[in-house]
């Protein structure tokens, strides 16, 4: 019922299929916000301001990519924020407390994240418990493990991590991004390739469009569902590693509520929460819009931080209403 049907839409050129409309609207909004910010604030229309949105949100981007996979199958993953925190905590403990080498730590953290996701996916599929509840338990588990490791913030002084945190990848013209942004973009490209050019990607859309139909078509529903939660767990762990580059500390209270930001980014990017319809490009734009809201509020100066939440709420409302209108006209 939520499958995007390609069809012309009144008011737009025939060439733009309706399934691209939500993504295009998000892109339009992003452009409008950039223009409005540039007109209103001195120094806003600078390439580095846009790049800083990437630098400050690289970890969220990676997490949101994993969330996109899960939401495309019609599921939800509430554990991502906690897994991010757990990853920073494990990294910090092993690096600072036990003197492990950085590559070993990163590999271990990624493996733990993927394993947590795999376990949640297996429980969701084999025992038929709602994703909401299973990932909620996963959220408690990961957050609880953080506090069990330690309740204090642990600084990271490891050479590799600090080097990665301070390196600037120069793009010419005085513009730069952090290595995390490069990692995030690689993840986005890999995920886009998997979603649109591999069998797994087609299975993800098929399961989201209708699990029963996918099963009757002989698609590997079990493998797909477990795979998306594993991907989400892996992406969360990677997001956690990027966050430890950004924060240079491990703390059980890092990334509280990040699952909401990730879900909001996916929704603003035009992906339907019922599954089966949406694009990774939309998620990228969604993360950028969220980041730009924060930038604008910091440029405004007088607005307090809670306006961010109110604006995100309003944006969510506007986008969901838009999606409703589009899908209502389709019927």
């Amino acid at each position: 019922m939520s499958a995007a049907l390609p069809a012309g839409r009144r008011g737009l050129p025939r060439k733009v299929p309706r399934k691209y409309v939500p993504v295009l609207v998000t892109a339009g909004l992003f452009a409008a916000m950039l223009v409005a910010g540039g007109l209103r604030y001195r120094g806003f229309a600078d390439g580095q301001v846009v790049l800083n949105v990437f630098v400050d949100n690289a970890f969220l981007l990676v997490v949101a990519v994993g969330m996109t996979f899960v939401i495309l199958t019609g599921g939800i993953d509430l554990s991502v924020g906690s897994v991010v925190a757990l990853s920073t905590m494990i990294s910090a403990t092993l690096l600072t407390g036990h003197g492990w080498p950085a590559p070993a730590v990163i590999v271990l953290v990624l493996a733990i994240g993927a394993a947590l996701g795999l376990a949640m996916g297996a429980i969701i599929h084999h025992f038929e418990i709602q994703p909401f509840i299973v990932t909620l338990a996963g959220m408690f588990l990961a957050r609880g493990l953080c506090y069990t490791i330690g309740t204090e913030s642990i600084p990271i002084t490891d050479g590799t991590f600090t080097a990665l945190a301070q390196t600037k990848v120069r793009l010419g013209g005085g513009l730069w991004v952090s290595p995390s942004v490069v990692v995030a973009l690689v993840v986005v490209l890999a995920a886009a390739y998997v979603l649109h050019h591999t069998r797994l990607g087609r299975d993800v859309y098929a399961v989201g469009g209708g699990e029963q139909s996918a099963l009757l078509m002989g698609l590997p529903v079990a493998r797909t569902k477990i795979a998306v939660y594993t991907i989400s767990g892996f992406c969360s762990a990677l997001g956690g590693v990027l966050l430890s580059f950004y924060m240079l500390s491990g703390y059980g209270l890092h990334a509280v509520g990040m699952e909401l930001d990730a879900i909001a980014a996916v929704v603003i990017g035009g992906t339907l929460l019922t599954g089966g319809s949406g694009y990774l490009l939309g998620t990228v734009l969604g993360v950028l819009v969220l980041g730009l809201i924060q930038t604008i509020i910091s440029f405004e100066g007088t607005l307090s931080s809670w306006w961010t939440k109110i604006f995100i709420g309003l944006l969510l409302f506007a986008f969901i209403l838009l999606q409703r209108l589009i899908s209502a006209r389709r019927g």
Binding site: F132, A137, G144
Partner: protein, 348 residues
Amino acid sequence: MNAVARHRLFWPAVTLAGLLLLNLVFTDHFFSVQMKDGHLYGSLVDIVRFGAPLILVATGMTLVIATGGIDLSVGSVVAISGALACLRISELGDQGSVGGVLAAVGVALALSLALGAWNGFLVAGAGIQPIIATLILMVAGRGLAQLVTDGQIITVNSAPYKLIGGGYWLTLPFGIVVVAAVLALTVFLTRRLALGLLIESVGGNAEASRLAGVRARGLIVTVYAFCALCAGVAGLMISSNVSSADGNNAGLWIELDAILAVVIGGTSLAGGRFSLGGTVLGALIIQTLTTTIYSIGVPPETTLLFKALVVTLVCLVQSPAFGRKAFHRRARPASPRPAPDEKVKVTA
């Protein structure tokens, strides 16, 4: 015995009893309830008292989930309601005036109702998925609560307001009285009148029940408004108990606890059926778990680990698929035997 074991509240009740017994091992006189200065005291009373806001929120959540929906915004409503009431009271000339406190409480509850109606309108009127419709208020509402308190913690010093969350009435903590009243009213409305049946029919199939003449939209708006009202009352209790309102942290994650309580109580998230008794059991399990962790001396940092463990176990035990797969070998030989008996009965 088998019929008892198959009752939907069997496993939640066993879990709660197990937790309580565990407490008895570690704490002497855990079950003793004493009367001091005309007030009831005791660990059991405390569990119900501290669990009161959760029971309230979970009661409203049960009805929402019964319609096939979900309400993520209750935590924000808790914060907004507490913040608004404390703001109004702090602006009073005499914070002890009963009329002023009643007016503040009235305004806070009216706003909660309005927020709930807004959720209901988004779900029933605009046809937005419940999880998303309420996500809007969950995110924006936290900001609104901080807007009301201006990012500060508002403290009040008002005896009448303190009664709601910290006072006693007829030997019982006032919060328990409120919860009992709300529960009794809800049970009466849903189990003695047709309302419960209508809610379940909407949860089973909203379109079919609309065609059958049930006013599904009005019902859904009512249910969301009721849920927000419960959250509003819980918000008053929480802020009154500490005589202050914190827009940032009040009611944080209470929506998740409430949903857990409902699910542990055996109400399916798919909607169409609900069990208020199960929800109360579920909320008590969550509260007892917290108490147990403190009383048996587990470091409080591992609270969440235990919660994850218990939640997973209770959900697994209740999952029919888990029963089929985990007890595969035992179930197989047992199942063919009762079948012929039943057949004989039918033919005879």
